[in-house]
Assembly symmetry: C2
Homo-oligomer: 198 residues x 2
């Protein structure tokens, strides 16, 4: 069953339980999904109103991006669980013989890299949405401007959460150039976008 | 139907729709609920392990608070919808005669005050949980420390979102001393807790 098909109270109970999935990766992705959905609502409450006719085309184009990102962030919440299970499975491979131990180590490294891609995608998705939130705040129906503010907070928290989740995977990865590249992208992006530290 | 009984994908679709509820208030409360649940998970993965026996009593006590806050934040997500509808209903009251107009204005003010209490409660709930997150980060099972970091980000975003949601209600409230008191509490709290601006 996907998280989308899960009832909110059951999801929260699972999140709070001692089971390691769903965990911080899915929570970050669903927080981004909520932020994205709020921004999309603001677009819908701006489009079709005479008062905002001069920005309608721009808001429609932002909405198309957001509707796509809403799907992506929901999918990332499920991917996070799947990828985490792949890592767990790799750790459980036999390591009796030298050949087995080597194969296991290779599987772990490969699984950790794939696993780190999920929060890295989430980081990028949030990063590219933040300027849309800034723009929406300027041009949207002022009656729902506070929903843009909330949406932006949620995207920002999701971005920093995604960074922490990438880092926890990188901690186990031995390919230093792989890790350095991811780290640099995230750090430079945060600096370039002049984001507040959390 | 409560939000807890709603499937995640349906909730997100409703949030993204042109319908004004659920909106930023519920999204903030459910983000806080996710942060709370993550911290509770970290407690459960710390309790009962020999290695962390010396902090077990403290972690159990933190968990009891979190389990209670998880209920509160979920309830606030529903209250936000209900209270918003009360405000909308007040605005729809007749205002043909002077008596009606006066009664309507009174109802709107009363509804706005009650409505502002929901995000204000959320603000306080997040505020009191942040020190628990800080403490957990020091004493928890290090294998799940990144989940504390994510939980803390979500609570922080929920706190600032709650502040924005209180403000949007205060904007319509004519009782200046009511508004000043709420505003001062939030501003002083943020300063005292040395929270980063978002």
């Amino acid at each position: 069953m996907t998280l989308g098909e899960t009832k909110i109270s059951e999801y929260l109970q699972e999140l709070a339980s001692a089971s390691s999935t769903p965990g911080g990766g899915s929570a970050a992705a669903l927080t981004a999904a909520q932020g994205t959905a709020l921004l999309a609502m603001v677009c819908r409450l701006t489009i079709g109103k005479k008062k905002f006719a001069d920005v309608e085309d721009e808001v429609r184009s932002i909405l198309a991006t957001l509707d796509n990102d809403l799907k992506i962030t929901q999918e990332l919440a499920d991917s996070d669980i799947r990828m985490f299970q792949t890592v767990m499975a790799a750790y459980k491979l036999p390591k009796e013989t030298e050949t087995e131990a080597e194969a296991r180590a290779g599987e772990i490294q490969s699984a950790l890299k794939t696993c780190s891609d999920v929060p890295f995608e989430l980081f990028k998705t949030c990063l590219f949405m933040l300027p849309l939130a800034d723009r929406l705040e300027q041009i949207c129906n002022p009656a729902v401007r506070s929903d843009v503010v909330v949406g932006r907070y949620l995207l920002l928290a999701a971005l920093y959460s995604a960074q922490a989740n990438v880092e926890i995977n990188l901690a186990g990865i031995t390919d230093d150039s792989f890790s350095a590249e991811k780290r640099e992208f995230m750090e430079v992006s945060i600096r370039e976008m002049k984001l507040h530290p959390l």
